[in-house]
Amino acid sequence: MPEINLVEAVNAALAFEMAADENVIVLGEDVGVNGGVFRATVGLQERYGNERVVDTPLAEGLIAGLSVGMAAQGLRPVAEIQFMGFIYPTVDQILNHASRLRNRTRGRLTCPMVLRAPYGGGIHAPEHHSESYEAMFAHIPGLRVVIPSSPARAYGLLLAAIRDPDPVIFLEPKRIYRLVKQEVEDNGESLPLDTCYTLREGSDVTLVSWGAMLHETQQAADQLEQEGVDAEVIDVASLKPLDAQTILDSVAKTGRCVVVHEAARTAGFGAEIAAQIAEYGLLNLLAPVKRVTGYDTVMPLYRLEDYYLPGVDQIIAAVREVLEFG
């Protein structure tokens, strides 16, 4: 079994599903000859031709709108937005159309499209290339929002997203595109959506995160282990629909929870998780639910980005705080 990194896993999933289903069409800016600025679509146009791997004019709203039309005709467009910073022109199409087409037509027309975008900070990218706005999409009814955090989950979840009969926003944590390699069998097996993945079992505290921040979260868990703290680590993976039960069950066991994300704190998706615990897990709580997040500031240009991104030390400090509480 080959060892591949996260972006290679994305590429493998795309290639697998394009071979399996000729309704799958990849479109976006520079996805063709260039293979995507992160190489996620490399080799696909060579293999499947430029009718199935389509370089579009430079217009993200168009990309989303085209995808809605294609999906309504039964194709399975997998659109790439080059960076999440350029995804906002798609919000209108995603919110007003993609997420609603099935509902509006009482199931007559559907919208099985995937909108992929690399997101998040930490690679010293230029301005507007490092933001995390998953919460915005997670608020929109009718969508799925999926974020992988490892090569295996990138492969399995992307396959699931493409096969899903409804629109999926698939956000790829670019900071870990090439961070780790993992054995991933290219067997076309998808992983379930709508469920959290418990990456590590523990009894003292529940750490909840998604995307690249799981890397720091797991590091924190490792360090805490050495201090004798047994942390459970949950990868939310599907932010929408949210499998709150897995988190609630974990908190029922540990009594303590720290949510970690890179996005700005206020009205970030961590708020939803904390709110669910405050509503359905209150009696189990031995300490406040802490959020370790990006600040409520504009993501700074790269020289200061490491100060913006939550670090292992902050996660550990938050865990200590909840452990020492009360």
Binding site: E51, G61, G65, G74, R104, P241
Partner: protein, 373 residues
């Protein structure tokens, strides 16, 4: 439209591209013929069917407004005076084509098999009005202006990918031409030579904003120049002209000729919607002047002059239309309201487990409501 390709580095001061925009109209305001007619003008059956379609649309429209006035329909956007454009488009398209409409195209929708009951349901606040029993692949009415145009381009891209001899048609208003979605989709249609017809229904107003404040372009048709394909104007209240030009554009698209932009020049004789009061921003005189050009009278007079039609038939047609409309209205008014929980049932193919409690809560609420709680 003509354009000359410029070689990449032609180092002279020169004209590198030329364009012109043409306008088509055959009937004057009284239905008299002012220039040699196209073939379709001799096709009695086609024209009579078109006329029926126009009359039915107007009859439907009147009923919808009456229902709204009596509290039986929500806000409604009338197509009064613009029926020829919409009916002609219905006639120009084939059933297998896909219509991607905005909110005024009852004429086209009816011609394509959307039922009047469905239309009433939609404006009556019921999603089932978008579940067309007839044209299953047509898009539902689009409210956010111009956002449907990229959908039509996507539909056309799918048709082209599958090498199907089908055409996607997007319709939108003059106001919509100011929005980026229109331009982005048109430009892409040019790039891929898509089987797409863009119909801009220029009714001179976008609510209270006149056409002259949307753009300083002399024509809306010329906006196609920015997308690299042909645009033209047609008198949208001249049923013969508009049918001829729309048919030509649809068939051109079907035959691999690529996209077109057709500007149908018409006039919104009614308020923008039933929620609008147009007397705030335009004069009675303006409306009166435009009534002179309304399409029904013009086509009827042409039909009668051509001995395709007579006043008795006309009376019968109006009666039939009224009856059909009344039946549809009755069916609409008798349609029981959807279950509230239906709002969960078409959200995803399978309702995610995590949403079940919300659905259950709504069902309980509904039951309490029925129990008169």
């Amino acid at each position: 439209m003509a354009g000359e390709k410029k070689t990449e580095r032609q180092e002279e001061l020169e004209c590198v591209a030329k364009f012109d925009i043409r306008y088509t109209g055959y009937l004057d305001k009284d239905g008299s013929v002012i220039r040699p007619l196209p073939e379709v003008a001799n096709q009695r059956e086609t024209l009579v069917a078109l006329y029926r379609s126009i009359v039915l649309t107007r009859t439907f429209d009147q009923k919808a407004i009456a229902l709204q006035r009596t509290g039986n329909l929500g806000t409604y956007a009338s197509s009064l005076g613009q029926e020829a454009v919409f009916a002609a488009l219905g006639a120009a398209m084939q059933p297998k084509d896909v219509l991607v409409p905005y909110y005024r195209e009852y004429g086209t929708q009816l011609a394509r098999g959307v039922t009047m009951t469905e239309l009433f349901l939609y404006w009556g606040g019921d999603e089932r009005g978008m579940d067309y029993a007839g044209p299953r692949e047509d898009f539902p009415i689009c409210v956010p202006i111009a956002t449907q145009i990229p959908h039509a381009a996507g539909v056309a891209l799918a048709m082209k990918y599958r090498k199907e001899p089908r055409v996607a048609v997007a319709v939108f208003g003059d106001g919509a031409t100011s929005k980026g979605d229109f331009y982005e989709a048109a430009n892409a249609a040019g790039v891929w030579n898509l089987p797409l017809v863009l119909v801009v229904n220029n009714n001179q107003w976008a609510i209270s904003v006149p056409r002259s404040q949307q753009t300083v372009c002399q024509t809306l048709a010329q906006k196609a120049v920015a997308a690299g394909f042909g645009g033209e104007q047609v008198d949208g209240n001249d049923a013969i002209a508009v049918l001829d030009r729309l048919s030509a554009a649809v068939e051109k698209a079907r035959n691999g000729g690529g996209p077109s932009l057709i500007e149908t020049i018409t006039y919104r004789l009614a308020d923008h919607t039933t929620a609008d009061d147009a007397s705030r921003y335009r004069s009675k005189e303006e409306i009166k002047a435009h009534w002179e050009y309304e399409p029904i009278k013009r086509l009827r007079q042409y039909l009668i002059a051509s001995q395709f039609w007579d006043p008795k038939q006309d009376e019968e047609l109006h009666q039939t239309c009224r009856r059909e409309v009344e039946d549809a209205a009755k069916a609409y008014l008798e349609t029981a309201i959807q279950k509230p929980s239906s709002m969960f049932d078409y959200l995803y193919e399978n309702l995610p487990e995590t949403l079940r409690p919300q659905r259950d809560e709504l069902v309980a609420r509904e039951q309490r409501h029925h129990a008169g709680d």
